[in-house]
């Protein structure tokens, strides 16, 4: 029937599509409709977007604060919840110091929520222990591109897909994870744009192009160095650009001199001629874009992988112009924003280093209180310290690390070891089940605020529904908690005031206001006095570090190769039906119906050798854990590799994944570990991890 249409931004993935929420006269969300005039999505949504109404439905939502007593949760008032949390936090800080408490904020929450979270940590708790899930998606992007280019974000914009001659997609599966951008790439390719896909799996995009480099897991640097070797040897690099805009090219020339395509054939599994053809196509294209994702970042070599992509783009001058660039596909709706807001232990809002005295003074002055000085812990650092008892209280919202973080058993036992775990959530998650106090959170449809998408576009989120029951927005409960702890540092009347305070302290956001964001269909940072309408393409004249840097990097093999006991390599992937831990998308009866709760993709040849049939129950075991799931026979995974999506709490791939980390960013190697797969008795359903753990 007829409904009011409230314009907002889709809550799934970093593309940030425009949608309307259809709300009936009773204030109920009926469904959604894509926004035709949206600058990126132009009237399209993916299956996740279309199912938004299910994701935030009141059915199964947490409606009031809950307190855990033994294994059960009991409803309590907000007053009791806040006094309990405040008292315990104060006691722990008094006893063990501020470095034993911290916050994990959320890439799903708004910029305002994230700004409030890091301010709460730094100004109220007096700690830099603040992090979020970018740690396990694009922290190597932030670190890598910062070194090479001076700014760790997507250099170009979605619209550039239609202004380029060649698109190189490496370690990313955009049609599944960023479907609308993936669709743009398909459309551009159909209209004549060349497409090169580098991926161990046969992704949907790989099926559309003859140029598929099916490299072995974790051989990105070897491949890219070989591409650079060919480009330099054949004089295909952009000499002018390299001379005028970059430094360190001579070292790179020396570094890749011996790395011929033939020399990396065995490491990468890619034919030398295909490497040459790729080098020629990319370097000789008038304009060429690189898109990449977790297949670059989730390795022990994550930061160096990112740096090598920057080397490739810089050498050919494919940066700073329309239709070019190094473009990370950010996973969650506001992961760019959560990073921009300084929900990272080492930076304040706008990537202003915590270690620098001048920044400490700036924020102490602005916030009217001394900010914390010691460096903070990452999310994995917090769980690790919790294990040993050196970290005692954690506030966490909108994330489910028990499902999404590597080595689930370690995360679970760490969180259990805390003296206080507070989780604010929409619905009961595996992490919330471990909480001492659960706070009912509002969904994106119940709040005002902004999300920043992967092309740095800050977009408005508009409240369409009243908060469900007693649910509160994240910055609102953080504010209430700060007051309870005797601090007036978080003192705002509405989300616009939060935004304005943040913008006044964040250089790249300084010229943004809610009104301007609404009028311009979003603003891309940097948006400053000099660039009041935002910036679609970064680094057009110069880099933030002056000249961009070529940094020589070497191939680093994966941490855990196969052996006799663990003869298959497990990689992780995502399904277009689901988002992260599945806490939202799995509420849709349609999306939930699409797959069994947990699957393992396996090549039919491997399956045959192991006597595994399609949909048959199987067990998967690594050095760290064991899960049971169902096999999906698919030629999309090569022989020797199996792939598991991480959306399913019943069969979490993170029982199995490796915790070996990128030394720079502590990014765990989620993309490769050794496993053994065994057929289970036919006709018996796979046991969920919960059943397996209870049986122990």
């Amino acid at each position: 029937m007829s409904a009011s249409l409230i314009k907002t931004t889709c809550p799934f993935c970093g593309v940030g599509c425009g949608m309307y929420l259809k709300v009936n006269q009773h204030g109920q969300l009926l469904s959604v409709e894509p926004q035709q005039s949206h600058p990126i999505s132009q009237g399209k949504l993916c299956d996740k977007g279309w199912s938004t109404a299910y994701a935030i439905d009141s059915y199964q939502r947490i409606t009031q604060p809950l307190k855990r007593i033994n294994k059960s949760f009991y409803p309590i008032s907000w007053h009791e919840a806040l006094t309990t949390i405040a008292d315990e936090l104060t006691a722990i800080i008094d006893e063990s110091g501020s470095n034993t408490v911290g916050i994990i904020s959320s890439a799903r929450a708004s910029n305002e929520d994230n700004y409030a979270a890091q301010k709460f940590a730094r100004a109220v708790l007096k700690t830099n222990n603040i992090d979020h899930c970018a740690r396990i998606c694009h922290s190597p992007t932030v670190a890598g591109l910062k070194q090479s280019l001076g700014s760790g974000a997507m250099t170009n914009s979605a619209k550039d897909i239609f202004q380029t001659d060649l698109i190189l997609v490496i370690g990313a599966d955009p049609t599944e994870n960023h479907s609308i951008l993936g669709g743009h790439i398909m459309q551009a390719h159909a209209q004549g744009t060349e497409l090169i896909v580098v991926d161990p799996r046969v992704t949907r995009l790989a099926k559309l192009t003859p140029m598929h480099l099916q490299l072995k897991l974790g051989s990105n640097i070897a491949l890219i160095n070989a591409l650079l070797h060919v480009i330099i040897k054949e004089q295909w690099f952009d000499e002018n650009f390299v001379k005028s805009r970059c430094q360190g090219f001579e070292q790179l020339v020396k570094h890749v001199k011996a790395i011929t395509p033939e020399s990396v054939e065995s490491v990468t599994g890619v034919d030398a001629e295909l490497i040459r053809a790729t080098a020629r196509a990319y370097s000789q294209a008038e304009r060429a874009m690189i898109f990449y994702g977790m297949g670059i970042t989730q390795y022990v070599s994550g930061t160096n992988n990112v740096i090598s992509l920057a080397n490739l783009a810089l050498s050919c001058g494919h940066i700073g112009k329309a239709g070019t660039g190094v473009n990370p596909l950010r996973g969650q709706n506001n992961v760019q924003g959560a990073c921009d807001m300084g929900c990272l232990p080492n930076v304040y809002p706008g990537y202003q280093a915590v270690a620098e005295l001048v920044n400490q003074e700036k924020f102490s002055k602005a916030w009217g209180t001394e900010v914390a000085q010691p460096p903070g812990l990452t999310s994995l650092g917090m769980t690790k310290a919790a294990q040993s008892g050196d970290f005692r209280a954690l506030l966490l919202f909108g994330e489910d690390p028990v499902v999404t973080d590597p080595d689930q058993n370690h995360v679970q036992s760490s969180l259990k070891n805390l003296d206080l775990l507070v989780v604010a959530e929409l619905t009961m998650t595996e992490t919330a089940k471990l909480a001492d106090i659960i706070l009912p959170a509002v969904s994106f449809a119940e709040k005002d605020g902004t999300f920043t998408n992967c092309e740095r576009r800050v977009q408005k989120v508009n409240q369409a529904l009243a908060p469900l029951a007693e649910a509160k927005g994240d910055w609102q409960w953080l504010q209430a908690l700060a007051k309870q702890m005797g601090s007036q540092a978080l003192n705002w009347q509405n989300s616009e005031e939060v935004f304005n305070e943040m913008a006044s302290l964040t250089p790249a956001y300084q010229a943004m206001t809610y009104q301007k964001i609404a009028d311009k269909s979003g603003l891309q940072w940097p948006c400053t006095k000099e660039t009041p309408d935002g910036t679609a393409i970064l680094h057009q004249q110069s880099f933030p570090i002056g000249k961009a840097r070529f940094i020589c990097v070497n191939q680093v093999d994966i941490d855990e190769p196969i052996d006799e006991n663990y003869p298959l390599l497990l990689t992780t992937n995502r399904l277009h039906f689901h988002y992260g831990c599945g806490s939202m998308t799995r509420k849709s009866p349609l999306l939930e119906r699409e797959t069994p709760p947990g699957i393992l993709f396996i090549n039919p040849d491997d399956a045959k050798a192991l006597h595994i049939t399609h949909q048959a129950p199987v067990s998967v075991k690594s050095r760290r854990g064991y899960v049971e799931t169902r096999a999906m026979l698919s030629d999309d995974v090569p022989i020797g590799i199996v792939a598991m999506p991480y959306h399913f709490k019943e069969a979490p791939s993170n029982q199995l994944t490796n915790t070996a980390q990128d030394p720079v960013t502590k990014m765990p190697e989620l993309k490769a570990c050794a496993v053994v797969v065994t057929a289970l008795a036919k006709g018996i359903a796979p046991k969920t991890i919960q059943q397996l753990q209870e049986a122990q």
Partner: protein, 339 residues
């Protein structure tokens, strides 16, 4: 059939508002067009713009309760809407309503809403961006049997009002109207014919339909096409003739009691699980098969026989919303050129 001349559309809106809730397509600041309820106090001008969502959810609700079980007995939950009028439905969408009337002929939930509705159709006198209604016999002029009242814009802000049946005649009773000269009907025909001629060449759609029904298209073509189907459900959601649904039980607990609600919701035949059986057997497990089935439903001769027309009404919404660029225009061009 009676034909009148109408000088002021507001009069008609106000008249209908006395006994009906009235819904009309409104364009918002972002040019998004959607069905919105109108009140006596504020009547927006009538626009011939295709709303992004068709009117199908007025009859076939996106989610609806079918029955509840309270522990003792089952209770049917039939909707009881007030009489309402859809004011200014374009011909393509009216054709789709007529198509769905047949499909949901014996569906009490659909019919409970449908019988309360007065359909006021609006002729299109200009082609729209993605539309090709003349190619599939669904417009641009409103077909007589598809609406209770038809409105046709004349020069000087005047309107031709045609009642096509008793329901339409009853609805305008008491409204002061001038009976029109029959030559204005001829004028209408000329205008509509001119509009048909203004549509771009859509012969590839006719060729595509022929080829689709020739049985010559290979499986490999559908498989290649289906690589681009992201299973988003956008086409089936926006298609005014799509009618697939599923049901689920939801238990609703309150302090007083616990009831089980059987809910019906829109489904999509492009989901892999749509036709999967409990044994995991699936006659359409391949994406190619599902995409083929979708287009077969829209243009296949076997469905034409059942419904006396194509399942496609030429609105072009699928082309606009498909992220994989396999909406009707793209698909028909590929069938014509590549299959």
């Amino acid at each position: 059939m009676e034909v009148y001349q109408l000088d002021d559309l507001t009069q008609l809106q106000q008249h209908l508002l006395v006994q009906h809730q009235l819904y009309q397509v409104i364009k918002n600041d972002d040019e998004q067009c959607a069905w919105q309820q109108q009140t006596k106090e504020a009547n927006e001008p009538l626009i011939a713009m295709l709303p992004q969502s068709s009117a199908k959810n007025f009859f076939f609700a996106e989610h609806e309760s079918l029955l509840i079980f309270n522990g003792d007995y089952f209770q049917e939950t039939l909707p009881t809407p007030e009489p309402f009028v859809l004011f200014g439905v374009l011909s393509c969408d009216l054709t789709a309503i007529s198509y769905q009337d047949k499909f949901f002929q014996d569906d009490p939930y659909y019919q409970a809403r449908r019988k309360q509705c007065l359909l006021v159709g609006l002729d299109c006198i200009q082609p729209c961006q993605q539309g090709f209604c003349p190619t599939v016999d669904a417009g641009p002029g409103v077909r007589q049997h598809n609406a209770d009242i038809i409105l046709h814009p004349l020069a000087n802000q005047q309107w031709l009002l045609i009642t096509t049946n008793d329901k339409g005649a009853e609805a305008i009773k008491g409204l002061a109207l001038t009976t029109s000269h029959w030559h204005l009907l001829t004028q209408r025909d000329l205008t509509l014919r001119q509009c048909e001629q203004d549509f771009p060449d859509h012969s590839y759609i006719i060729n595509g339909i022929d080829k689709l029904n020739s049985g010559e298209i290979k499986d490999s073509f559908w498989q290649q096409l289906a690589v681009q189907c992201l299973g988003c459900s956008g086409c089936t959601t926006l298609c005014p003739t799509c009618s697939c649904y599923s049901t689920r039980s939801i238990s609703v607990e309150s302090e007083q009691n616990k009831v089980i609600k059987q809910e019906r919701f829109w489904d999509s035949c492009l989901y892999e699980s749509f036709q999967r059986e409990a044994s995991f057997h699936n006659p359409s497990s391949e994406a190619g098969k599902r995409v083929q089935r979708f287009w077969q439903h829209k243009f296949g001769n076997e469905f034409f026989t059942t419904f006396n027309r194509h399942g496609c009404v030429g609105c072009g919404r699928c082309e606009q919303t498909c992220p994989g660029v396999i909406g009707v225009h793209s698909v028909m061009k590929r069938i014509t050129n590549d299959a």
